[in-house]
Symmetry: C2
Subunit: 192 residues, 2 copies
DNA sequence: GTCTATAGCGCGATAGAC
DNA sequence: GTCTATCGCGCTATAGAC
């Protein structure tokens, strides 16, 4: 999290604040204290809070989806790929000293406080994940390593909502063990 | 939502604000405007915001769980009971003019801004739902109407996280149709 | 029980010096 | 690029009249 330049340091800090506490904790005052510059310096890089949020999403979403694409293109079984995809969310939960949720999961809760371009960016993130999960599931069905009723698209939506929700629920209680238990249950469901 | 007395009207309005927009929208000013009394009158019933939140949870959680108990005790198949349980969440999403999420789901996102008694109330709500879902699933397994791999407790955790997450995800996009598709997929998974 | 008035704070944002 | 200083706003909360 120690960053080479101020701009990146601000982005990292802002993201951490949202993922751990929420959008409202991402204040110029809080970022200022964590980064070690004055509030006015943050306004220099990101004049308004919306500017900062847009930059955050434009960095987070493509990065996350690129990692997902890497998982999908790897020469592994669909089962391993799905475990790795779930592992991305587990890593979010357990990275750092405080439990984190997905950036777009947290912003989903606060979506009604955001303007349209921002809410569309978040909605697009959800859709893109569902699309990739559908591909992953279809790979597994074709290869015969997955065997579940219903169709892949509905299953993909189920899995994505499950992972986003699980980050929130696990954080309130048993944490990573709760998360892992649910992922194991999911793996049994898709394999049959 | 038109209430007989001011106190109830305040509670109803506060809950609606949290479920649609978030905890931060539940301000004395916003409630004041919606209820038609001055801010000071709200402080008369609920001196601090925490007092209001506690009252809200002490009303919501027992009520919701009592409805769940009614579903569990009904002379229906476990399949119908599970559909009705999911229906409680769908009703939350589609009641009113704005999409709502579960009160405790929304507060789960903002849980790190709450003090310990409140976060424990929310955590307890999650646990109580998981316990009742486990019972429901075991009923279905015993009766032979459910047939899924893994154990009922893990499946219950999966379903609860799924429903809480789905409320957030569906709100950002396709709404009720998205929700229904996921519930149908879930029903196929438990029935096999 | 409901009101007016006000205190005190944190917030987002801007101007202008260096 | 970073700073000090400041503005105006909305917030939670309280005192005191009616």
């Amino acid at each position: 999290m120690k960053s080479t330049n101020t701009r990146t340091h601000i982005l990292d800090t802002a993201q951490e604040l949202i993922q751990t506490v929420g959008l409202n904790a991402m204040s110029y005052a809080n970022i200022s204290q964590a980064v070690g510059v004055r509030k006015a310096s943050i306004h220099y890089y990101f004049p308004s809070k919306d500017d900062l949020l847009v930059a955050l999403l434009e960095r987070y979403s493509p990065y996350f989806l690129r990692v997902v694409d890497t998982i999908l293109d790897a020469p592994e079984s669909a089962e391993v790929k799905l475990r790795r995809y779930c592992g991305l969310f587990e890593a979010t939960l357990s990275s750092g000293k405080q439990d984190k949720v997905c950036l777009c999961g947290m912003l989903g809760a606060e979506i009604k406080t955001l303007n349209t371009p921002l809410s569309e960016q978040i909605s697009r993130f959800y859709q893109q994940n569902e699309i990739r999960l559908t591909q992953l599931l279809n790979q597994g069905l074709s290869a015969g390593v997955f065997n579940f009723p219903g169709d892949a698209a509905a299953m993909a939506q189920l899995i994505f909502s499950l992972l986003e929700g699980e980050l929130l629920i696990a954080r309130a209680g048993k944490g990573v063990p709760h998360f892992r238990g649910v992922v194991e249950q999911l793996m049994q469901l898709v394999k049959q």
